[in-house]
């Protein structure tokens, strides 16, 4: 066993794990904060919806599509000036979060839009008949009714972000993916590769299971 794990520096792996979790937590938080309202707006301004606005909807939709079509590795580099402006550095964990959010928030917004489309139109109509304002419909009807779908969206986004963080090594952000890349792949340290990949697998499994549990708890159908 010792022979196989010869190259493993557990302290380094621990630090990389912490970096991954920090990047994941930070970017997921901001992706939800930005993506949720964006998704609600995409839905509300859509055709036949409460705030139907063709122009606004097309503009938002275009922005989301542009961000989603850029490969993340390109986004990471193109974002550098904006990242500097936002967090003061384009390096490390902090420097990785803005591009991660820019990649994940539009993705999450689309998932939110889809979840909201699944809300029964009749329920929205009933709320209107009861004299609800658009704000009351969003907060009191749409979001609670789509809760399970939105939680599932957060889970999918979190798993996607784990994949994105592996590329964040390009801006020196560290993390498990970066370790796998630099030591496991470039230095042929197969043991480092195996350990980091197993840890990432465990992380994704844990996220998915936790997410599924939340979704099941939120479902009332």
């Amino acid at each position: 066993m010792d022979g196989f794990f010869a190259n493993i520096d557990w302290a380094e792996i621990g630090a990389a794990g912490v970096d991954t979790l920090l990047m994941l937590g930070g970017s997921l938080l901001f992706s939800v904060i930005l993506g949720l309202p964006l998704g609600v707006l995409l839905f509300l301004t859509g055709r036949g919806q409460l705030l139907e606005q063709r122009g606004v909807n097309m503009a938002l939709s275009f922005l989301v599509n542009v961000l989603r079509s850029l490969p993340f590795i390109i986004l990471l580099i193109v974002m550098i000036p904006l990242t500097l402006l936002l967090v003061g550095t384009s390096l490390g964990v902090a420097g990785a979060i803005p591009p991660l959010v820019a990649g994940a928030a539009p993705f999450f917004a689309r998932l939110v839009e889809t979840a909201l489309r699944g809300v029964d139109r009749g329920v929205i109509e009933a709320s209107q008949a009861m004299g609800a304002t658009t704000r009351q419909i969003v907060l009191g009807v749409l979001l609670p009714e789509a809760r399970a779908g939105i939680l599932a969206g957060i889970t999918v986004t979190a798993v996607a972000l784990v994949g994105y963080t592996a590329m964040a090594g390009v801006v020196g952000a560290g993390g498990l993916g970066d370790l796998a890349m630099r030591f496991g792949y470039q230095r042929f340290q197969t043991d480092v590769m195996v350990v980091t990949v197993v840890l990432l697998l465990v992380l994704v499994q844990a996220l998915q299971s936790f997410g599924d549990w939340l979704v099941a708890r939120a479902s009332r159908r």
Binding site: G122, V123, A126, A129, M130, G131, T133, G140, R220
Partner: protein
């Protein structure tokens, strides 16, 4: 009173103008149960939704006690809507909220902050619709009839003066339909509500409505008291609805002896249903009454009998006179 004044509605679909409602005038009196019957696409759903502004007319006005709903907007419209309860074919309850939270929802929307008062009101309403023990259940745990009862409690939460029923029993089985209609009837009397309902089933109209409008392709083809429209339908569409309900095709199967006789439809209403009118006339005029088809039932609270008879022998003219004098409406069938 709800007064549709020269109201009409059309949509643009793929650049073409589609008329949902042709210009129409219609009055619904305060405190009555008014039914609107029509096939799908006849415009009844549009007409109902004009009342609470869920649909805006292309022209004309919808006056509720003199206020034009079609001219209201924003906060004024929302305020008015709170005075109009609505129940739906598919109930439209919030799946993420409990029964009690669903009923409390319109109160919360209205900004009712007094929690204890809201809870008391919700408990009272649930008790009234027979769901006192289901406050903490979720809609998914209820049967269709129970869901509609929650819908009714929710519609009543803000003490409306008008209740709109959008095919409220169309998704329910006959037995549940009867109990939900009974509940709507009771609530109509207790709360003094004006009830407007749309349906495609004549039986619903017969059970609880005072007056009915028959809608066909965006036009009201017949409007009147349910008994008049139901027993003496004038328009082909109305006749189809009534026949559908009565499943009456016995006439066509009647034998040759009947074909030679004089055929009439006799309609009796109220107390005269139970009077021994036919027997008396048969004795007096020596006319034989052959029974081809018929029905003895109730329209809302009024009993009626409608019989299709074949008259032969004796003094037929005297028999017809006697029937008319006895309070029957007699129609001769070709």
């Amino acid at each position: 009173m709800i007064h549709f004044q020269n109201i009409h509605k059309s949509y643009r679909v793929d650049g073409r103008e589609v008329v949902a409602l042709h210009p129409l005038d219609l009055r619904i009196e305060t405190g009555e149960v008014f039914g609107i019957i029509g096939r799908s696409g006849a415009g009844k759903s549009t007409l109902l939704r004009l009342i609470n502004g869920l649909e805006r007319p292309s022209g004309g006005s919808v006056l509720i006690d003199g206020i034009d709903m079609a001219a209201l907007d924003g906060a004024a419209l929302r305020e008015k809507r709170r005075g109009i309860g609505m129940i739906f074919q598919h109930f439209n309850l919030l799946a993420s909220k409990t029964v009690a939270q669903n009923v409390a929802f319109p109160l919360r929307l209205a900004g009712d902050a007094d929690r204890a008062a809201v809870e008391r009101r919700v408990a009272g309403l649930l008790e009234r619709v027979g769901l006192g023990g289901h406050a903490n259940h979720y809609p998914a745990q209820l049967s269709g009839g129970q869901k509609q009862r929650v819908g009714i409690a929710r519609a009543l939460a803000c003490e409306p003066s008008i209740l709109l029923c959008d095919e409220a029993t169309s998704a329910l089985d006959p037995e549940t339909t009867a109990s939900v209609l009974r509940l709507i009837g009771e609530i109509h009397r207790e709360f003094g509500l004006t009830v407007v309902l749309i349906t495609h089933e004549m039986d619903v109209i017969r059970r609880i409505c005072d007056r009915v409008a028959v809608l066909d392709a965006g036009r009201p083809v017949e409007v009147g008291k349910v008994a008049d429209v139901f027993l003496h339908p004038q328009h082909a569409t109305t006749r189809r609805f009534v026949q559908e309900y009565e499943h009456e095709d016995v006439l066509n199967d009647a034998g040759e002896s009947v074909a030679a006789a004089k055929r009439i439809r006799v309609t009796l209403r109220g107390d005269s249903v139970h009077a021994p009118l036919l027997a008396r006339i048969a004795r007096g005029t020596q006319v034989d009454f052959g029974l081809i088809g018929g029905r003895v039932d109730k329209i809302k609270d009024t009993a009626y009998a409608q019989l299709t008879l074949a008259l032969s022998g004796g003094d037929v003219d005297a028999a017809l006179r006697g029937l008319r004098e006895g309070g029957a409406v007699v129609e001769e069938i070709g």
